[in-house]
């Protein structure tokens, strides 16, 4: 077994990756399947994991590619519009209307961000990625992560105010 990689680490990564998969696939069942499949692939390929790098970054790469493959297998069709509304609208079921409205606005503002800024927000806010993990995943220095995160949050703040 690769040093530092055990089933608990993999399970934690799988849970963290769920929201990322959901945001790509826009479908809860598919996202769950993709997370589990990515875990199985990571486990099968664990001998290739470099323990000097953050594990989640490695798992995230496998998961993202798996999700992109699943998207491609839909014959490049755009996501089902009803399913695409799943993320913000779910809030209406259990939270107050005010919170639901906040979530819808924040969700729309995040979707409107440029790709590089949206990536840091999604990693930090929805996958709980550390700065080091974000740097590894995005292949940029930590200083750049911090400045992008600031720009992203500032853009979001301006969009929402």
């Amino acid at each position: 077994m690769a040093e530092g990689l055990d089933r608990d680490v993999l399970t934690a990564a799988t849970r963290r990756g769920f929201v990322a998969a959901l945001r790509i696939l826009k479908n809860r069942d598919e996202a769950e399947e993709a997370c589990q499949e990515a875990a199985a692939r990571a486990w099968a390929a664990r001998d290739r994991y470099d323990p000097s790098r953050p594990f989640y970054a490695w798992y995230h790469r496998i998961l993202k590619n798996l999700c992109l493959d699943r998207l491609a297998s839909r014959n490049n069709k755009p996501a089902d519009p009803e399913a695409a509304e799943q993320l913000p609208s779910e809030a209406t079921q259990e939270s107050s209307m005010l919170a639901a409205e906040d979530e819808r606005r924040v969700h729309a503002a995040i979707e409107a961000l440029p790709e590089d800024l949206r990536a840091v927000i999604e990693l930090r806010h929805f996958e709980d990625a550390s700065y080091a993990e974000m740097a590894d995943i995005l292949e940029i220095p930590i200083g750049t992560v911090m400045s992008r995160l600031y720009r992203a949050r500032k853009t979001l703040k301006e969009a929402l105010s």
Binding site: R7, L10, T11, T14, R15, F18, V19, L22, R28, A31, E32, C35, Q36, A39, A40, R41, W43, A45, R48, R61, I62, N65, L66, L68, L87, P88, E90, A91, E94, S95, A99, D102, E103, V106, H107, I110, I121, R124, H125, F126, D128, Y131, G143, M146, S147, L149, Y150, R153, K154, L156, K157, L160, S161
Partner: protein
């Protein structure tokens, strides 16, 4: 104040939003924010946005059916065994039937030719798929791919 100073404190603001500040950094940031009330308001708004996304994340995670990972080698081996049995049985049945048909002079020639061609095509297709799988062994399609 230089641009570098601004970037430094903006990084501290990010750590504050994420709850990563240590005591010394927190005190340093507090002093700076006291002198820059507009930045203090900015930090407050950014923290509010983070709280909203935290709620979104928790809600999405709440009913996710993510099972603890376990290596299911036994089930996978059993599946392979069952598939192998089914495949071997079908191959025997079909092979025997085709041989019987081809060697029976009472079967019309067109049927025998048809059965022969269909068998040859099936075997060729199977060999091609097998060859493709063998060639792809050892290459990981998910290895460090930039897309």
């Amino acid at each position: 104040m230089t641009v570098k100073d601004e970037a430094y404190f903006e990084a501290l603001m990010m750590k504050a939003v994420d709850g990563f500040l240590d005591r010394a950094e927190a005190e340093e940031l507090d002093r700076w924010l006291a002198a820059n009330p507009d930045r203090a308001a900015e930090l407050e708004e950014m923290t509010s946005i983070k709280e909203v996304t935290d709620q979104m994340r928790q809600r999405l995670m709440a009913d996710a059916r993510i099972e603890p990972f376990r290596e299911d080698g036994g089930a996978r081996a059993m599946s392979w065994l069952l598939f192998t049995l089914i495949f071997a049985g079908l191959a025997l049945l079909c092979g025997f039937g085709v041989v019987q048909m081809l060697s029976n002079p009472e079967v019309p020639g067109a049927v025998r030719w048809g059965a022969g061609l269909a068998t040859a095509g099936t075997l060729g297709l199977f060999a091609r798929v097998l060859w493709t799988r063998i060639r792809s062994l050892g290459s990981d399609p998910y290895e460090e791919i930039d897309r």
